[in-house]
Symmetry: C2
Subunit: 492 residues, 2 copies
């Protein structure tokens, strides 16, 4: 397996596109902007799904499923939300094809099968879900409703990139309903914490927790809580958002409940989601010029064993010994593959597993058999050690933990080195152009200034960090008074 | 909780519709023909999914994900498949809404955002998948491809019913590619076996394994293997199908490979699927006039414990004791709920859990506390026993197995009693009208006779059983020669 990937230094964007395809994660399909998620990429997504799903259930949520389609009249009910998504949605207008009389063997849309009301393919499901919740909620006893759905959604993006921005993508969307504002805000924050936990401790991607400015908020939300990650090229990536929706959807869909005092009140709402976009964040946080680097907790194959042999007899001896190790590893829950294909050279296999980011690679040849050792290589640092076969099990299990921690710490160091405080707009522009990363700067709080800075630099306010310290200062652009710093960055 | 469901004897169809809604499984949505799968229904589906997914992986399949949309030109490539689905598909024609100038606050389809080529919302994914496989397959070394996808699909059915026939439904679809015809046929049969295994041993629904006549085959298949179940009202339900697709899709999408002899050959294919329709089969196989009856292996809650008390002190004593039992049950992997809500009466709870089909219900009151006993009721037979608290754990765990076995055996007895051999058309009609079920009859093998019988009786050939014995006979309708019996039934 020859890798032949463009290096990151040469062209980061090209490196990314090539890696996604060559590591068998995903590829473009015959449908504009829609991707095929290949088995290896999907196996990573499944592990991430399982972890998220577990956390959702631990925090009291249940899964359900709502329709793919949203009738136009429901779609437009919450005006801001509708406005936010109207420009990029797929619309079903007909429900039948017929034989095309002018083109034998071809089909055409049957004009007699026009829908009375157009259906929007969901770009997000608040509208259809709140239209449903309306019938589920009469009294405070029906609250809270804590539901999540795993689904596909469609946003007709003009420029698409595998995982990062696709017309169709997979995600989960939580939609909750509450008695009080306080409870809904607490839920939105809790889910931000759940996301940060999984992304940091499972994907090994450090994030900044914050909330969005009005401009960057989800269409229809009163507040958007976000987790922001930093990619190796100095651009930020929004890794997950959790929205406090206030009573906006309750009002749009007339969802009221009788509270404990016997009074009618509108229900309070949240929604929150992460998507296959996280796969892009994963790749751009850890991988290198040799290919993918996967945190052990997400790797479909955590350990691969490659035999090195000249004769069938040697292979048999290696196999007999490796079978024991494989069984021991499986017993302690480590996923392992013994690649004993004889039509491929060890070097080819090494390259392949490097490209696919397998965290630990074990090589075992005749010399190892003589000495009772394994050669154990780690993908993150590309270093290797010779380990006695008696010590191998403990070594591997410790190594996987080390790699998980090392990936997080390495990314954290990079991220922390790329948060730069600036106090003038010249400095702002210079740091952005030379170093990139997050720029911590004072801002006067107006959408106008935010827009102007974006126009001049392409940097947007990624978030107002939750843990920012109160600090009087002057807006980096207008010089007007500011109560604290916000994080700017160019973003995916 | 008052159940108030129509009885099965009164109106089976109404009973079904009411039960689905009252047991919180699913409901109709604001979108024509599309359902909302509610958390309780979805939890059952998730358990079924997990079991199927495990079996797919054990038989060497991997999951992946392909686009929701199929461009019209790909959709029409395999003519029989296209013809089979063209009359009932949702079609995306536009990708943007805009403000409607004539109706302030309303949106309209933007005529300037018409797609160059219409997109069909997948009714099944052979077309988009074979268009993808084309790029994945060059040599016999690239085969077999063994992929499954969990997805939503859309078929624009005119008459819909919750779970049984909905415009959108959830399913899995396996799509495999092989070197030889033999291997593809073996795969199709293997997946029929996997389906039969899960449906019988997990859902406790007995099935007949067979294959379809040409008329009833999947559009684009050379052979369709099916598992057919029998519902309580004597109607059959197709529970899963596995198709040998021959080289039809390979030819339509020009997918060739170089075989071991160095020659170009078209690839052999299968596809196979089961859907949320199985939820309908589950309900109509086991449930009764009191509500849902769930096989323990599929029940989200296997055991519910209801305290019976007058004072807070009594409840505390019961809770202390029950906490131990709950921990013990969880330890051996039994899902249990202690319903200590004080605002609802025990009788209300009993009704609720009967309606929801919880397999085992434990009641514990002051008398039980005195005697050191539990009252343990089983949902399938609605009988109960008093069991000492020391024996409870073993008793419950045995009882869950008993219930699982009893549900299967009960359904098997019913099914076997409802396979009737007939030798004349009068008998055929009489059995169909009075007893229903499967009718085992000779058929002359022609689509014309099949069609005629369907026209006269509404019965179709559900399958040609795999295990049928060779038996010379005369067609029940035409009297022409027949080589063996086939199974007719009215079907969902």
């Amino acid at each position: 397996m020859s890798k032949n990937i463009t290096t990151r230094a040469e062209d980061y964007s090209k490196w990314y596109n090539e890696l996604v395809v060559k590591a068998d994660l995903a590829e473009n399909s015959g449908v504009r902007g829609c991707m095929v998620i290949k088995p290896y990429g999907y196996a990573i997504w499944e592990k991430l799904q399982a972890e998220l799903d577990k956390k959702f259930k631990e925090t009291g949520h249940q899964n359900a499923y709502f329709p793919l389609f949203i009738p136009k009249s429901l779609f437009e009910a919450e005006e801001k939300n509708a406005e936010g998504f109207a420009k990029e949605c797929a619309i079903v207008t007909h429900y039948r094809l017929k034989n095309d009389p002018d083109n034998p063997g071809k089909l055409m849309v049957d004009p007699d099968a026009k829908l009375e009301e157009e259906l929007i393919v969901r770009p997000t499901s608040e509208a259809i879900i709140w239209n449903t919740y309306k019938n589920w909620i009469q009294s405070y006893r029906d609250l809270p409703i804590l539901i999540n759905q795993w689904a596909n959604v469609v946003r007709w993006e003009m420029r698409t990139r595998l995982f990062l921005r696709t017309a169709e993508f997979l995600w989960q969307e939580g939609h909750t309903a509450h008695e009080t504002k306080q409870e809904a805000v607490a839920e939105a924050k809790q889910m931000q914490d759940v996301y940060a936990d999984v992304v940091e401790n499972f994907m090994a991607i450090p994030v900044v927790k914050g909330f969005k400015t009005e401009t960057e908020r989800f269409a229809g939300a009163d507040d958007t809580y976000t987790i922001e990650a930093l990619m190796q090229d100095g651009k930020a990536l929004q890794a997950g958002t959790s929205h406090f929706l206030g009573q906006n959807f309750a009002k749009a869909f007339d969802v009221k409940f009788v509270n404990k005092e016997g009074k009618q009140e509108y229900v309070w709402a949240t929604s929150w989601g992460v998507s296959t976009r996280l796969m892009g964040a994963l790749i751009m946080t850890h991988s290198d010029d040799n290919g993918l680097v996967l945190p052990p907790k997400l790797a479909p194959i955590q350990v691969v064993i490659v035999p090195i042999h000249k004769t069938d007899e040697q292979l048999q001896q290696i196999t007999d010994q490796v079978d024991v190790l494989v069984a021991e590893l499986k017993k302690i829950g480590i996923s392992v593959k013994f690649d004993d294909r004889t039509n491929l050279k060890p070097g080819w296999k090494f390259n392949e597993y490097e490209l696919k980011g397998v965290p630990v690679r074990i090589a075992v040849g005749p010399k190892d058999m003589e000495n009772g050792t394994y050669e154990i290589a780690r993908r993150d640092t590309l270093t290797k050690e010779v380990v006695s076969k008696e010590a191998a099990l403990d070594y591997i299990s410790g190594l996987l933990e080390d790699i998980q921690a090392n990936l997080f710490n390495r990314a954290l160091t990079y991220r922390d080195e790329h948060i730069t405080e600036v106090n003038s707009f010249d400095e702002f522009k210079e740091v952005l152009d030379t170093k990139g990363g997050f720029i911590s700067a004072h801002w006067d709080g107006t959408p106008e200034t935010e827009e102007k800075i974006k126009e001049l630099t392409k940097a947007t306010i990624r978030c107002i960090p939750l843990n920012r310290v109160a600090e009087e200062g002057k807006c980096v652009y207008t010089g007007a008074v500011s109560a604290g710093r916000v994080l700017f960055a160019k973003a995916y």
